[in-house]
Amino acid sequence: MGFMDRLRDAFRKPPAKEVARQRLQLILKYDRAGLPPNAINAVKDAILNALKDFPFIDASGVTINISEGDTDREKIEIEVPVKNN
């Protein structure tokens, strides 16, 4: 790798350890919940699809997250905002 490549990398790419940290946090979330890695996005797509017929729902604001439930089970939390009038 030449000097210019190194210099460009230094400015462009986040450090490898930062990438590793973010990837691992996501991977472990799914591993702990026993879900395949893209499960959440698939659920989100299906929900958005089901919600699009309701004009009072703000589809752009739907958020979906895996979080630790009260018991030893993980839970998926979906927030569906209502549109402001």
Partner: protein, 266 residues
């Protein structure tokens, strides 16, 4: 006294389980405690090499289970460290030769005669892992600061909790301060944060480790080995003592070297 029966596990292979087990057992025995290290990696015997005891093995753990000899007869007395004993794994059998209840029975028969009983777990999360964890009062998870090892460590942690064990303690092994400083490697703090486990110790990458293993001399017996010092500190923490974590810094990394590196030098 702290927990007596300690299982060392990791999920992923090759992260340093046997090396850490052999060294912690040696360090505690060198301090005067009576210690036995059980190699539970049936079929892939390794702990004997770390301790340099491969030529002294006559009987192994499977002989004990089959009733060929009593457990006392299978214990190999360490040649350097008084009070240290090895219960070797069988090399020719497979993992199904030792069932959880077999290992529980062996550990129970040893419990009153020893201050510490280490169990070196096989890699993986199958039968052999479960057998190794079952008798343990406490579990130590070894992780290297890299992706696959951390993921596997988390998996093993989940399985331990499903088995009703207390939350494992973490040893971050083979941390390279140089790579951490460059931003290429996760720091111990990152690993702790990601796994959410109590940190028992950090062992730095040590190029000399391979020569200690080649000679069958545990690094904890050397005053000059930096990894050995880190492992001795971990042994102290197992005794309940508060020992500060080693300050691990990349050596000889002056500003001039950093500039040189940017220009492609080494």
């Amino acid at each position: 006294m702290a927990d007596k029966v300690i299982c060392v596990t990791s999920g992923k292979g090759g992260v340093g389980k046997s090396t850490v087990t052999g060294n912690l057992a040696t360090a505690l025995a060198a301090k005067g405690y009576k210690v036995v290290a059980i190699d539970a990696d049936i079929g892939l015997r390794n702990l004997d090499l770390i301790l340099g005891l491969e030529n002294r093995i006559v009987y192994d753990i499977v002989h004990v289970i089959e009733g060929v000899c009593p457990v006392e007869k299978a214990l190999v007395k360490d040649k350097r460290t008084k009070n240290l004993y090895l219960l070797p794994a069988a090399q020719t059998k497979d993992k199904s030769a030792v069932k959880p209840e077999d290992l529980v029975a062996i550990v129970e028969s040893l419990r009153n005669n020893f201050d510490f009983i280490f169990i070196d777990s096989p890699a993986g999360i199958e039968e052999g892992f479960k057998t190794a964890v079952t008798p343990a009062d406490t579990v130590i998870v070894i992780a290297n600061p890299e992706m696959a090892s951390i993921r596997d460590a988390d998996r093993v942690t989940g399985l331990c909790s499903a088995m009703g064990k207390p939350e494992p303690k973490l040893i971050v092994n083979r941390l390279d301060p140089k790579k951490v400083e460059k931003g290429d490697m996760l720091d111990a703090e990152d690993v702790v944060q990601i796994l959410g486990l109590e940190l028992l110790g950090i062992v730095p990458e040590d190029k000399e480790m391979v020569s200690y293993i080649n000679r069958g001399e545990p690094a904890v017996l050397s005053e000059t080995s930096i990894a050995g010092k880190a492992l001795r500190n971990i042994a102290e923490r197992l005794l309940g003592k508060e020992v500060p974590f080693l300050e691990l810094k990349a050596e000889g990394e002056g500003i001039l070297n950093k500039i040189k590196k940017l220009f492609g030098g080494t």
